[in-house]
């Protein structure tokens, strides 16, 4: 059912919308952001180092989220294609004018924010695919031609981001897009074959290593090596993961106390305020702290799932669960990475890590979820 088939009379108007926001979700987001600010205060030494700018950033994006939530969801549906094309253009642009960081061209420096277009794409792709399946008659969903088109929508940004090169983000875009297609109801057989193909690709990647045809850059291969056995190079490539695991492990059950983590306070942890901030949390607040954050994240997912189920139209359902998937991938990949379950790929811990792009994009995404929630039809027939 497309939302156009519903009467919208029952939907709240004006400032009354605020009362109909999903407040539970909002409170959970505030909780996560607070944890982030506390941890940034801990690793920064002073409040003004990282915590304060992060707080301001959260307030700005929070307002932005509310503003997005006020706008009816059908407006955003109509904007989907534009959002996607906008993000795609930026990704192309970043290849020409972007700054190089860590051996990859990833962001455009706008002065007040370092914009990472590939992050925008994580939400834009969800919007584009959700809109696509909203328009597409359900009977055609699994027809090869109509499967090919969303595959193109996914493949284009994936390949562009891979060329930057940013393996992590491109995989996340791929998985997010695939998830939306899966939720939309594309036939199982497609996914099975893609999965098999994926295994084939991984095989190919390792087989071509060292030849002229190798598919990944050397540093990416090395990251995989380090992941498989970090102890081989404890001061070089494996340093990040080894120190991160030491920090986590030494936290124990209840942690070493706020600002008492030796690994993070004494700078043994690399990137302690960005990608590796979870280790600081786990070191200073222990298993209890780490599991609490994970629980909050899972609660956010749960509320998203409920919102998706309550939504009546396909666009809203797909949008909410797609963005939830993006959010899940953020924290799942980040945590796996710092716990040594995955190669270090440079994914921040959502709403906790220092940095603007991810927060901007995620808060925009939650704005869309709220919009879908507020503007959902209250009664069917």
């Amino acid at each position: 059912m497309s939302y156009l088939e519903y009467r919208v009379r029952s939907i709240p108007r004006g400032f009354r919308k605020i009362l109909h926001l999903n407040w539970a979700l909002i409170l959970l987001l505030i909780a996560v952001a607070s944890i982030g600010i506390i941890m940034l205060y801990s690793v920064g030494g002073s409040f003004s180092q990282w915590a304060e700018p992060q707080l301001k950033r959260f307030l700005v994006t929070f307002v932005m989220m509310l503003m997005i939530a006020m706008v009816p969801i059908w407006f955003w549906r109509n904007m989907s294609a534009i959002a996607y094309l906008f993000a795609l253009t930026l990704i192309v642009l970043v290849g020409f004018i972007g700054s190089t960081g860590m051996g990859a061209q990833r962001w455009i420096d706008l002065g007040f924010i370092k914009l990472q277009p590939s992050e925008i794409m994580k939400v834009a792709i969800v919007m584009a695919l959700a809109a696509y399946y909203d328009v597409l008659p359900p009977s055609k969903i699994s027809r090869p031609v109509w499967v090919l088109l969303p595959l193109l929508i996914i493949a284009l940004p994936t390949l562009l981001v891979l060329r930057q090169p940013d393996l992590g983000t491109s995989l996340l875009i791929l998985i997010t897009g695939g998830t939306v297609m899966f939720l939309a109801g594309v036939h199982w057989a497609y996914f099975t074959s893609v999965l098999c193909a994926g295994v084939g690709v991984v095989f190919a990647v390792f087989q071509t290593r060292g030849t002229e045809w190798q598919l990944l850059k050397d540093y990416q291969y090395r990251r995989i090596d380090t992941f498989l056995d970090p102890s081989t190079d404890p001061l070089g490539a494996g340093y990040h993961i080894t120190q991160s695991k030491i920090a986590l492990g030494s936290g124990g059950l209840s942690g070493r106390g706020f600002k008492m983590g030796s690994q993070s306070q004494l700078n043994f942890l690399p990137e302690k305020h960005t990608d590796f901030i979870f280790t600081t949390l786990a070191e200073e607040f222990g298993f209890v702290g780490g599991i609490s954050l994970l629980a909050i994240y899972m609660l956010i997912l749960l509320f998203c799932l409920i919102a998706a189920l309550e939504a009546q139209d396909r666009f809203s359902k797909l949008l909410i669960s797609g963005i939830a998937m993006t959010f899940f991938l953020f924290f799942a990949v980040n945590m796996s990475m710092v716990m040594g379950l995955m190669p270090v790929v440079g994914v921040p811990l959502p709403l906790v890590s220092w940095g603007g792009s991810a927060m901007l994009v995620l808060m925009a995404g939650f704005g869309l979820i709220q919009s879908a929630y507020v503007h959902r039809p209250r009664t069917t027939k």
Partner: protein, 646 residues
């Protein structure tokens, strides 16, 4: 419509189903994360905690203070002194060049210092202190301290450095310390981590080197918290370690200094021993050098000067110097002869001034001859022919056996590592080393302490003490407090005390009878009466070429071709307390050069440094008084140097 609704419913259901699948996958993944967290943080927490501590905690060593060295009365021979250095921390200094420029105006700095400082600054992280100048004076430190406001990053630091207050007087006993060299490190299988501390000093010679283990002490540790770049954040724990053990010597600093002064500029050595306990009271060697120079790092020119000096200041002659004992060896030959039973003390030998051995004439020092000579006269007048005759009867084997029993040709373990064993020749030795057969001429030479016989001043002192007491006296250098009690020897060296009695009486006559070779160097007070023996050992016999030039006596020859002068004695005669041996290299005659020195030393030791003038024969007193005054000027004041705790 109904059909479409059904279709819609089916699609909606499918979406819900798939959302559930995705949700379950996510939940499963989150579960895996939680399990991993549990695994790291609870099951392996202990191990990771350890690793984190290893990261965080860095153990720094604190050097222990080195044990001090005292003389028998607690006078300090080696102690630790604060030494000041100026350090610079680059990150606090800001403009390093400007700060160093200012510092150079306050503290003397060489261009070498500056170069080294810049090199070290480049090498080290900017938060580590770098030593700019070492061993500055207290005045320099206070100047720097006053000017701290304009010298950011500059800190005066204090460390401990070895100091030898009695300077060159004890160099040959105590030795000195110096920085650890790579050779020192290689010598040990598992070197003490202390040795790797920059600026750490270890014993390099003599006592400082051989007692290194006791003196060094054990390192303390300081556990500090460091961050990833190694900067010290705070100190966690400190264990102070153990200071090195103090060592007390049997040496009497006052006597030692006196002996060094009395030997003066001569290339000489003297050993003073307590006759009964074997305690070394003084063990000297001249010329000496200031060990403090070595601690600070001696300059090349100074070191080369020491190396090239023909009087060999670097050699500890009391232990390392080996000389033909000359006539001081005659007691050994006499004892050997008495023991063999081939002669007794009354046996007479006629001395015409020479003896023909295998067709070659061997001369007595007195060309005119001594006439009829018995044991007493042979020692008193030091007749050579008597000993040639006696030795030919007794044989080298017996003489060598007695020599070793009396402490010659063997090592006495004082623990100083450099002791020379000397040499008492034997037939086997000559065959082995020279490939030649022993000749009876060799026995004759050995009988008067010439030829191949070589002894050190320490050995001569031991021999004298053993003759004086008849006991198996062993020399000791460490005070009984520190070495666990000096055991008084009980082994008698002779089964018949009459033999030694005869020898002692003869030695007494050497110093106290008108014809005695050392009669001129006698002490006339009964409580100081000496028994001694002179020795003049030939280094080179006067050659034909020299005779042609008209050189007939020692004084006319070049210094290093002259004879060595020796004298051994003990005193007082009736109750021996000290044994003294003196060797003056190229000093000429024993009676003329060595005996007066030995007399002064013995008197000083017996009178506790008082040296009463009335102990000397009347005609010597004036000259002795002058000498006393002169020595008083150069003797160091020991009263300020005493450790009150001992």
């Amino acid at each position: 419509m109904n059909k479409s609704e059904n279709h819609d419913h089916r699609i909606s259901n499918r979406m819900t189903r798939r959302a559930a699948v995705v949700g379950l996958l996510q939940l499963g993944f989150a579960g895996a994360l939680a399990l991993r967290m549990r695994n790291l943080q609870i099951e392996e927490a202990e191990q990771f905690r350890l690793l984190a501590e290893e990261n965080r905690i860095n153990v720094r060593l604190i050097s222990p203070s080195r044990g001090e060295i005292y003389d028998r009365n607690g006078i300090i021979l080696a102690r630790n002194e604060p030494s000041y250095r100026i350090t610079l921390i680059e990150e606090d200094a800001g403009d390093v060049e400007r700060v160093l420029g200012k510092l150079a105006q306050l503290v003397p700095m060489s261009s070498e210092d500056l170069e080294r400082t810049y090199a070290e600054l480049d090498r080290n992280p900017s938060f580590l202190p770098v030593t700019v100048v070492d061993r500055v004076t207290w005045e320099d430190v206070s100047r720097v301290a006053i000017n701290t406001p304009v010298l950011p990053g500059i800190t005066p630091e204090v460390g401990l450095s070895r100091y030898y207050p009695l300077a060159d007087n004890f160099t040959h006993v105590v030795g000195y310390v110096g920085p650890v060299s790579t050779r020192d490190l290689e010598r040990h299988q598992n070197p003490d981590p202390l040795l790797k501390i920059p600026r750490f000093q270890i014993g390099k010679s003599r006592l400082e080197a051989s007692f290194e283990d006791q003196l060094r002490g054990r390192a303390g540790t300081r556990q500090v918290e460091v961050n990833a770049t190694g900067r010290i954040m705070r100190e966690l724990r400190r264990s102070s370690g153990e200071a090195g053990e103090n060592v007390q010597l049997t040496v009497d600093a006052a006597l030692q200094c006196y002996v060094q002064a009395r030997l003066g500029e001569e290339s000489a050595s003297a050993v003073v021993m307590d006759c009964k306990s074997g305690e070394i009271l003084a063990m000297t060697s001249t010329p000496s050098y200031d060990p403090n120079k070595f601690v600070r790092g001696i300059s090349h020119t100074d070191y080369n000067a020491l190396l090239e000096d023909e009087r060999k200041p670097l050699v500890s002659k009391a232990l390392q110097g080996i000389y033909p004992p000359g006539s001081t060896f005659k007691m050994i030959t006499a004892i050997a002869a008495l023991e063999s039973g081939l002669i007794n003390e009354k046996t007479k030998v006629y001395c015409p001034g020479h003896l023909e051995i295998s067709g070659k004439k061997k001369y007595c020092w007195k060309r005119g001859g001594h006439g009829q000579v018995n044991l007493e006269k042979s020692l008193r007048e030091s007749c050579d022919v008597y000993y040639y005759e006696v030795a030919l009867k007794v044989g080298i084997k017996k003489i060598a056996e007695v020599a070793r029993r009396y402490g010659l040709g063997i090592e006495h373990d004082l623990g100083l590592e450099v002791e020379a064993a000397g040499l008492i020749p034997s037939k086997e030795w000559k065959k082995r080393t020279k490939g030649m057969d022993w000749l009876i001429g060799d026995t004759a030479n050995a009988s008067i302490g010439q030829g191949d016989v070589l002894t050190s001043p320490l050995q001569l002192a031991v021999m004298t003490a053993r003759i004086a007491t008849g006991k198996d006296i062993k020399p000791v250098l460490l005070n009984s407090n520190s070495n666990g009690g000096g055991q008084l020897p009980t082994t008698d060296l002779e089964d018949d005390p009459a033999r030694l009695k005869a020898v002692r009486q003869a030695m007494f006559n050497v110093s106290n009878k008108r014809n005695g070779t050392a009669y001129k160097s006698r002490l006339i007070k009964d409580k100081f009466r000496m028994a001694g023996k002179t020795g003049t050992s030939q280094v080179f016999s006067i050659s034909e070429a020299e005779r042609k030039k008209g050189i007939t006596s020692n004084e006319d020859r070049e210094w290093n071709r002259r004879d060595h002068a020796l004298f051994v004695c003990y005193a007082p005669f009736d109750d021996p307390k000290v044994a003294v041996s003196v060797v003056v290299e190229h000093g000429g005659g024993g009676s003329k050069t060595a005996a007066p020195i030995a007399r002064d030393i013995a008197l000083f030791a017996l009178s506790d440094g008082e040296c009463p003038l009335d102990a000397y024969p009347v005609k010597d007193r004036e000259h002795i008084a002058e000498q006393k005054e002169m020595l008083a000027k150069i003797l160091p004041d020991l009263s300020s140097n005493k450790n009150v705790e001992i």
